[in-house]
């Protein structure tokens, strides 16, 4: 199976760390939500109850509002808040990353590993970050 560095051309051994083995049991959306036992997606997987199954950034914001997140301006580290970022490509959400208290980010990459990465731009094969959300930590 493909390696992360073969897919994400900006990744190298100095700017990211593997933090889990590969698994198809959860994806980046679940991982951003703090879960590692199921795959989150509005179609064909788990999605929070009573929400429209919208495959859109706005639909993802609605899902994370159920967890206490609200939209915020930036991914800058803010004391007292934990943040997540939503990536979009060709008009569809593709990926989410979660910020650590160090200011670095963590991502689960599809069926591949979880990684800790220095910046959001390192995963730009997923497109661009178009929305940030935060909640009190």
């Amino acid at each position: 199976m493909a390696s992360l560095e073969s897919i994400f051309k900006r990744l190298n051994e100095r700017n990211h760390t593997l933090t889990s083995p590969r698994t198809p049991e959860y994806n980046c959306i679940a991982f951003a939500a703090g879960e590692t036992h199921r795959w989150w997606w509005p179609i064909g997987a788990y999605w929070p109850d009573n929400l429209p199954r919208l495959e859109s950034v706005d639909g993802f914001v609605l899902a994370f509002e159920t967890l206490g997140y609200v939209v915020c301006e930036s991914g800058n580290l803010e004391s007292g808040f934990e943040k997540i970022a939503i990536y979009e490509k060709s008009g569809k959400p593709t990926h989410m990353a979660r910020q650590l208290s160090s200011g670095k980010w963590v991502s689960k990459c599809g069926n591949l590993e979880d990684i800790e990465h220095e910046t959001l731009e390192l995963l730009d094969e997923y497109g661009s970050v178009v929305r940030f959300l935060r909640r009190p930590s």
């Binding site: 199976m1 493909a2 992360l4 897919i7 994400f8 198809p24 049991e25 994806n27 980046c28 959306i29 679940a30 036992h37 199921r38 795959w39 989150w40 997606w41 179609i43 064909g44 997987a45 788990y46 999605w47 495959e55 569809k92 959400p93 593709t94 990926h95 989410m96 689960k108 990459c109 599809g110 069926n111 591949l112 094969e125």
Partner: protein, 107 residues
Amino acid sequence: MPTLALELPAVDVEAKFHRLADAWREETAHLSSMTEIILNPNYQRIIGMGPQVLPILLRELRDNPDHWFWALEAITGTNPTNPEDAGNLQKMRQSWLNFARKAGYVV
């Protein structure tokens, strides 16, 4: 009138499945979008193989758990998983393997 030969010999079905499954895993490994994962052309070709691929697909689910549920439902026309288990690969896998054993598949 000549007819199209849609049934492949078993050995060819097995080889074709594994070729398509390997390509599917390679092309979708980094994706989170279940929509993109199941609409991948290799995955769709596996669905297109129809009932002849079911025993192989079920063995693959048993031995190398992965997101084969959409293909299984498309081929069989049924879904034996519990709605509350949506997205839970291990629980969905167990429901499908239980269903398969009751239906007479050796898995």
